[in-house]
């Protein structure tokens, strides 16, 4: 592997971590918004307790990806930031409002309860962010972002403000909800809440399954580069995802929370890496490549040193965090 590829793979790993960790936090917000029934308050409490100590750390994977992208692939970053100004700006408002609302609620509960405006903002913003990040991903995989002579040649709605963009956005929200509900069955194992979240996980799993299949079927027409990726080099992982999907749902159905959690995480990993491996060597198909947009060798080497040193501090710290707060369910550590 060349250095740009190594850095790209590391960035994709951090996107994967962001998806399975922070994705669940967004899903938690959605379930907070949709909390219903006699145990609604307990559901919200369980979500808040699960997210509280970890959500800020989970969120940093996104920051890491942004700074890594502009350091290692500055021209690709410039194009993406320009072409996706609108969906990313909306996703960003969601990130701000979600985080602030959660902190406000968590640290001053009697003033800012689930039913206050900030409570509703927490849930709504938690859905807005993955939805618009999903539409932005659709713009990339559909090959709608065009670059000629280093300049953006497509318009500011290309590829995301489309039905397919909406489909991918909804899929992202559903996956977040699926992850969250599955994790929460482990967090609440043995309590009446476990069954609440199990039913939610099944619902989210079915919805994400339907949307995922629809995305796959429509890809050849709506997003040819994605179809080439998933049915081309990414095919083994696509097949794994198709096999694993029903198994994950079965594990949820049969109340095997720990197994279900691993299976759902695996599902997200299969989908993301089928896309990534299939899309190689493009960062933004079909005009921006990993090699072509990479920073100079000296920058990539220095970045790899910083990443190695940073990870040496980060990974033991993360282990400690999850060890202290998720000791009952250590598989969240991955």
């Amino acid at each position: 592997m060349t250095k740009p590829e190594v850095v790209a793979a590391i960035l994709w790993l951090s996107l994967t971590a962001y998806a399975v960790l922070a994705g669940a936090d967004f899903g938690g917000g959605l379930w907070d918004l949709l909390a219903i029934g006699p145990r609604a308050a307990d559901q919200r409490q369980a979500i808040a307790e699960a997210m509280g100590p970890v959500w800020e750390a989970n969120h940093v994977w996104l920051i890491f990806m942004i700074v890594g992208l502009f350091t290692a692939f500055p021209s690709a970053f410039g194009i993406l930031a320009l072409a996706l100004y609108l969906p990313l700006t909306i996703a960003m408002t969601g990130i701000v409002l979600r985080g602030a609302a959660f902190a406000f609620r968590g640290h001053a509960q009697e003033a800012v309860g689930p039913l206050s405006p900030w409570g509703a903002i927490f849930g709504a913003a938690s859905s807005i962010t993955p939805f618009f990040l999903g539409t932005a991903a659709a713009a990339v995989v559909s090959g709608s972002i065009k670059v000629t002579g280093g300049r953006l040649a497509s318009d500011f709605t290309a590829g995301w403000a489309t039905p397919y963009g909406g489909l991918v956005g909804a899929f992202a929200v559903a996956i977040c909800a699926y992850l969250a509900a599955t994790y929460l069955t482990v967090e609440t194992e043995g309590t009446p809440l476990e069954d609440d979240f199990r039913r939610r996980a099944i619902a989210a799993g079915l919805v994400s399954g339907v949307l995922g299949i629809a995305g796959l079927v429509l890809a050849p027409a709506a997003a040819p580069p994605l179809a080439q990726a998933l049915f081309g080099r990414g095919l083994p992982l696509t097949v794994l995802a198709l096999l694993n999907g029903p198994l994950a749902l079965l594990a949820v159905w049969r109340s095997r929370p720990r197994l279900a959690r691993i299976a759902v995480i695996a599902q997200v990993v299969f989908v993301l890496w089928a896309w990534a491996i299939g899309q190689w060597p493009y960062l933004v198909p079909t005009d921006v490549t990993i090699q072509g947009s990479a920073a100079p060798e000296s920058t990539l080497s220095a970045l790899l040193v910083v990443i190695a040193a940073g990870m040496a501090l980060l990974l033991p710290s993360l282990w400690l965090l999850f060890r202290v707060f998720k000791a009952r369910n250590p598989a969240v550590i991955l």
Binding site: S75, T93, A108, S298, A302, L303, V306, L313, L321
Partner: protein
């Protein structure tokens, strides 16, 4: 308004908002470490009470700082895609390091905030140390990137505009880093110290003259006092470095139009382009040359020696600089007065005029901080990368920047309002939990006196 103006307005507002929270992310963890450490050492519960109260407030403040910082990392690209496409490979390294520092801060903050009942007292105290260190490291790394924008080194431009010989380490350690980084770090402690002192001074003014308030005030003022001394030293070094490295910024800071030997210092006043001089200011002969180069006859370049298109706005820069330096000096005198009285009487002074001044010092220190950033940022204009890339050429061409700005203005106002409301509420709740008895008797004392 055009995109460049809107992008600058949006970025500037985001920076102003974020920086006020970011400095607390640097300073408060250090105060929490000290207070909790003092509790471990002395077993005096008042220290623990302080640390616990700060940790609750910090839970909210850090989250708002973190999400507003996220906005900035997005906005760098969303508002200035050409700037990032050009600079990312050169100055991205400190941002990446900052990512890790932020990571560690968030992780240990999770352990600290939620670990009061899960960790042993010593282990809990230990988790506060990485927060303080990584908070400071974050600030240092981010300011390295800003310093590079002022003195861009670590690359060459090829004839076709391509980057050659990129050296990201040299870029991170660019000449401005040596003066900007220390100045920002100590300023963060100045602001945190004064804000904390301000809170306890306000409590004492309302009659809550107890051990916790006195110690909170003293600890805040200890940080503010030590840091503001250093802020004076590092600020002086920064200004003298700007005199050498960014003469246009320096001329704008001082409102100097004409290049001359024995240049005067202007205190206050408004630099008017139409008159080529500062009006309504106090002029101190030769003082500028003396301060800038330790030589009363040294030559200082004036604004007139730069093409009109390369000049920063002297009104903004000069007034910001004088606000920073003037208010900063006042804060320094206030800290000196506080410590002179405290050391002479061997206890924290509770005279009402002094407490009133300390209450005002908190917001004033934030104003000094913002004014300092105005000097740095307005002073670098019209460049985003000094001498290399113009701000006007870096902005996005995307639509709807106006609505984005409006939405973020509303969001920031909402966040500021709610944060303030919740911090007051947290304090009230803590008082209610700890019993109002002490408070009430204190209030009675005030009525009697």
């Amino acid at each position: 308004m055009d995109n460049v103006a809107l992008a600058r307005l949006t970025m500037g507002t985001s920076l102003c908002f974020h920086i006020a929270f970011a400095v607390l992310g640097v300073g408060l963890p250090l105060l929490m470490t000290v207070a909790e450490g003092l509790w471990l050492r002395t077993q005096d519960a008042v220290w623990l009470k302080l640390a616990r109260r700060w940790s609750k407030a910090f839970g909210i403040l850090f989250a708002v700082g973190a999400v507003s910082g996220t906005v900035l990392s997005f906005e760098l690209g969303l508002l200035w895609p050409r700037f990032m496409a050009f600079s990312g490979a050169i100055f991205g390294l400190p941002f990446s390091a900052e990512g890790f520092a932020f990571f560690l801060e968030a992780i240990f903050l999770g352990l600290y905030l939620y670990g009061w009942n899960r960790l042993s007292p010593v282990a809990h105290w230990l988790t506060s140390i990485p927060i303080a260190i990584s908070g400071a490291a974050s600030a240092l790394f981010v300011v390295m990137a800003n310093a590079w924008m002022n003195t861009p080194v670590g690359f060459r431009l090829g004839p076709d505009g391509r980057l050659l010989d990129v050296n990201p380490v040299a870029a991170a350690l660019n000449p401005s880093t040596a003066t900007e980084d220390p100045h920002m770090l100590v300023s963060a402690y100045v602001v945190t110290g004064f804000l904390v002192a301000s809170v306890y001074a306000a409590g004492m003014l309302r009659g809550r003259v107890d051990a916790m308030h006195k110690r909170g005030l003293a600890l805040g003022m200890a940080m503010a006092g030590a840091a503001i001394l250093l802020a004076g030293v590092t600020g002086d070094a920064s200004a003298r470095f700007v005199y050498q490295a960014q003469p246009a910024k320096f001329a704008a800071m001082e409102g100097l139009y004409e290049t001359r030997r024995g240049a005067p210092l202007h205190l206050g006043g408004i630099p008017l382009d139409s008159e080529h001089r500062v009006v309504y200011g106090i002029e101190v002969p030769k003082a500028l040359s003396l301060l800038a180069a330790f030589n009363p006859e040294a030559e200082v370049r004036g604004l007139d020696s730069f093409p009109v298109a390369d000049r920063p706005n002297p009104i903004l820069v000069h007034l910001s600089f004088d606000s920073m330096a003037g208010l900063g000096l006042l804060l320094g005198f206030l800290a000196a007065l506080f410590w002179a009285l405290t050391l002479r009487r061997r206890q924290v002074p509770d005279r009402r005029p002094l407490l009133g001044a300390l209450v005002l010092a908190g917001p004033a220190s934030v104003a000094v901080l913002e004014a300092g950033w105005f000097v740095t940022e307005f002073g670098r204009q019209p460049w985003v990368v000094y001498g290399i890339l113009r701000t006007a050429d870096a902005a996005t061409t995307a639509p709807a920047l106006g609505p984005t700005f409006g939405i973020f203005l509303v969001i920031y106002a909402g966040l500021a309002f709610t944060t303030a409301r919740l911090l007051l509420l947290l304090a009230k709740r803590a008082r209610a939990e700890e019993g109002e008895a002490g408070d009430r008797s204190a209030r009675r004392r005030r009525v009697v006196s």
